[in-house]
Symmetry: C2
Subunit: 359 residues, 2 copies
Amino acid sequence: MEHYYAVIMAGGGGTRLWPLSRQDRPKQLLKLLGERTLFQIAVDRLAPLFPPENILVVTSAAYASAMRQQRPALPEDNFVVEPAPRGTAPAIGLAALQVRRRDPSGIMACLTADHFIRDEARFRDLLAAAAQTAQQDYLVTLGIAPTFPATGFGYVQRGDALGTFSVFEVFRAQRFKEKPALPEAEAMLADGAHAWNSGMFVWRVERILAEFARQMPDLHQQLTAIEADWASLAEVWQGVPTTTIDYGIMEGAENVAVIPAKDLGWSDVGSWESLLEVLAPDEAGNVVIGGKHLAVATTGALIHAARQGPRRLVATIGVSDLVIVDTEDVLLVCPRERAQEVRALVEQLKQRPDGEQYL
Amino acid sequence: MEHYYAVIMAGGGGTRLWPLSRQDRPKQLLKLLGERTLFQIAVDRLAPLFPPENILVVTSAAYASAMRQQRPALPEDNFVVEPAPRGTAPAIGLAALQVRRRDPSGIMACLTADHFIRDEARFRDLLAAAAQTAQQDYLVTLGIAPTFPATGFGYVQRGDALGTFSVFEVFRAQRFKEKPALPEAEAMLADGAHAWNSGMFVWRVERILAEFARQMPDLHQQLTAIEADWASLAEVWQGVPTTTIDYGIMEGAENVAVIPAKDLGWSDVGSWESLLEVLAPDEAGNVVIGGKHLAVATTGALIHAARQGPRRLVATIGVSDLVIVDTEDVLLVCPRERAQEVRALVEQLKQRPDGEQYL
């Protein structure tokens, strides 16, 4: 597709998938599904739609070399390295400069590096529909049709229908809503007029830069300074405040569209439990990633043993809905409904004198 | 104690503690409690009572070299190696020859290599009491006062009181009872007149050899042939039938005594759950052997990570009464009340083409 660029935002950290994810090994760099890392998968699924020179990666200095090692097929020049993480707005601004330098008529898709998408062909169709919408000068949000009253995602309320591109209906976005409380989430799920905000966006590069100029003039001025002299990046970046694109741009923008995608098999993989929701279980109802599973009366288990290698055998008797994550130095066992509580373990480790090595 | 010999019977195999125990690494060779193997612990606890030259080990050829490596402090000559396992009667007969060769007036205590005994000083007192009883020409069975209606042990019914040695009451043994069904076990627990048969015995060596001559004349003849020419051992052994000392000797013997020991903290360590019964839990109610434990809302767990080493961290959230056994190639997770079902896993492995490496 002409003029179309993919920008993979791959600078995030976090320990929600501890013990597999660590400070120096964030989610996108993990072989979460067994063979390839989420970052590699994120690039792979774009290949049918984007030539390698049109795929850019924004990441922070801490992860840049690991990213380059994982994806040598992308041009070296396509890795845009933030000196430090400053949230999605500055990252997207920086990438927009690089897209405009290549193609002032460019359309950029801002995509995530650490999400799971089961139906990759459908995802590419969605990106194509979004590009066509962006050509009409909309800021396009890729929405996800909600399947449960999630309180961990932002929502987008849809307004008037704008048309249909291939199988996707496009709507004007009427309102962005931050992570809601449960009753509100339930109401939004029920009314059928809200989509999850996937954090993925598509727009013409000139359009988004104009929005930066209008809504975030300080940041826009900093970007202009960087564009004039990339050697100043590190210095200018020190004065850049941390802001998300949602708060900094989307909530105050006009002509925003949302495409609520169904049946993508999308997950932000925000917890171990989320893998159980999107991956197909085996005959016994378990999801086994890496290693081998030997079981008596076991169902609903997530067993992740990829880091220990294919010879590793995980044997279970009489357990259900249990998460077992087995890494070289740490073993985690917890019920799936408590998988979010790995945060508490991470906090404990921060307090322990011997904890740092496991973080 | 003069004339007193300990014979540690260490030839047993089995996979009830799989995945830690394996075909070539039976229970007595495992660092089940963390630092030392059960065999090493079995020798250690005898040291205050027996000089090393009075401690013999009967084992089978398959395990002999591993045993010797674990216990270099015993004289090389004190390892009595069966060419193949034939049950406890032939093993004890063979050891009796070695004791008699050293001391025709010897008293031999036939002891186990793979049991846990928490109160080791009390155990030595029990052995001393048993030796005094054996001096009076009794065949002495060390009994264990039952604490629950076990169906996995044999029982000994006590008869008349024979006296008291230190804190131990000694009774005539009236009847040996094989592993009972549950109602019978409950009745025996309730009547207060039965002790578990620990499989440990004390007697004068001449007395037991006389019993062999009387009750197992064929085996006695074979032993006599071996004693005359130890080079014939392998050949003679081929004709030795497998028999237990209980069936072959004890059930038909007269002047049998039983000393029902209380508060030894004894366990045959017949399953992972049994460790939870005898080891002291930590403050949170868990038993952790080897490795480190990081927990949220975890209680009644047995975590065995000794084989992966002290850096290994096992993290649990919201689990109770769970057994977690972590070895280099296998991880086992099961509720404590189903720990006996590792047999089913072992059976599955026997059927799998890739199973042998884990057995």
